[in-house]
Amino acid sequence: MRFKNLLIVISTIIVCLVTIVSLTDIPTFKISFEEFERIIEETNSLNTVTAYYLNYRLYDTIFEIFVFTLSIYGVVFFLNSVPSIEKHVPFNDPVMNFYSKFAFIISIVAAIYIALVGHLSPGGGFVAGIVAGTGMMIVSLTKNIDEIKDQFKIENISSYEKLILLSVILLTIFPVLIGKRSFQNFLPLGKTGRILSAGFIPLFDLLIFLKVMFGSWSITFYFIKHRGVV
């Protein structure tokens, strides 16, 4: 027991030191200002992180979407083997009922904003999707399972998801048809700083936003259906 405690103390100190050192000694950026200018010129995206993962590294991002889709199917597949809860008891609290709707609206508006300006400021499709999914989750805590089914049309959601995945794949192949490389931008770059700029980056942001929103919502729905609300 004493040895175990000693081991815990030593490993804590090591982890603590490593964390602090890595947090205080962040390597300074080696990318020159010209490099930033080049990225912005080429993509017209002010957020260079988005420019990287939706333009230069779009191939990796597509696989991230595949992994996400696979994990959702995994959750749905395994939860379907669990019998669903017969007596579904939602939260029945007036304060919660009111604020959940409020939170839902706020999170959907915030999510759309984050998705649309992903190429101008911090944000993007993934975060926006999760924010919207969380909003849907909060509002569904106060509703009955049949009400949720009626309002969010869960059967349609899985078809939307497949449709979005298909359109993402088609959008990456489409440039080949018009004589460009695959995964290459085919839309006009527009004026820097506008929402409708940066070529296909906002389009992908929007598609990823919808995909992640429906995906995270499916996970929530199946959890509530098969395990019940807390």
């Binding site: 603590c16 947090l23 988005t50």
Partner: protein, 233 residues
């Protein structure tokens, strides 16, 4: 510099607290707090995109999924019938073989026990609100009668017939004789049947049943015998 160091310390301390928790619910909520501080850290070291993702996924979404997943396993609802030696609320809290076994099991699974006394088995619907029902349940009495329950045997016993024709198990006979409700002469010594005491597990809590079976199989024989000797003599 000071901010980074303090954030680093907070992260490590929170992570340690989460790992050392033995109550799953507390651990989940604290890991949500950990995610929130991680998000703040990401923000200050120049990664607002990652901070947003961490805050929404780590602090809210994962916490919810974990809590729902924990729903059935966080609290063990036990319904019991008073039976001295097996389970009974005494002056110093609960005591008995079944209670001690359940306590060890709940500690092993980091759950809390919620005890409720049952007066009779007349209304089976009420029994569905429990994960485990105990209090000297005997295997042969319940086979077929309560089909909605899973039976987990843990201790062998004998069944005796009284002269009135009642079939009673060893602990019940002992308690009745000790309280003077029947005399030892009333018991028919020849009709001895072997059976086992069981825990009744509701079908909805099948996972609890599986975990309890595993626990009882892997329980140290010495500890088990000690519990039985201490309570039943």
């Amino acid at each position: 510099m000071f901010l980074e160091i303090s954030l680093g310390i907070i992260l490590v301390v929170l992570a340690l607290i989460v790992v050392l928790q033995n109550k799953p619910l507390k651990a989940i909520i604290l890991s949500g707090a950990f995610s929130a501080s991680a998000a703040i850290t990401y923000f200050f070291i120049g990664a607002p995109d990652v901070a947003m993702a961490e805050a929404s996924i780590g602090a809210v979404f994962t916490t919810f999924v974990y809590i729902v997943a924990l729903k059935h396993s966080g609290k063990l609802r036990v319904g019991y019938i008073d039976q001295a030696g097996l389970i009974k609320r005494g002056a110093h809290g609960y005591e008995g073989v079944e209670y001690e076994l359940l306590k060890l099991f709940s500690e092993d699974r980091a759950m809390s026990l919620e005890m409720k006394k049952i007066d009779s088995f007349d209304s089976i619907e009420k029994l569905e609100n429990f994960d485990i029902i105990c209090g000297g349940m005997v295997e042969s009495t319940f086979s077929g009668k309560l089909r909605d329950f899973m039976l987990i045997p843990y201790l062998e016993t004998n069944i005796f017939k009284t002269k009135k024709g009642e079939k009673l198990d060893l602990v019940r006979i002992k308690n009745l004789v000790l309280s003077g409700q029947i005399s030892p002469q009333d018991i028919d010594q020849n009709t001895k049947e072997f059976t086992k005491y069981v825990f009744l597990i509701s079908k909805e809590s099948e996972d609890v049943g599986k975990a309890l079976t595993d626990f009882l199989q892997n329980l140290d024989k010495k500890i088990f015998n000690d519990i039985v000797r201490r309570n039943l003599g």
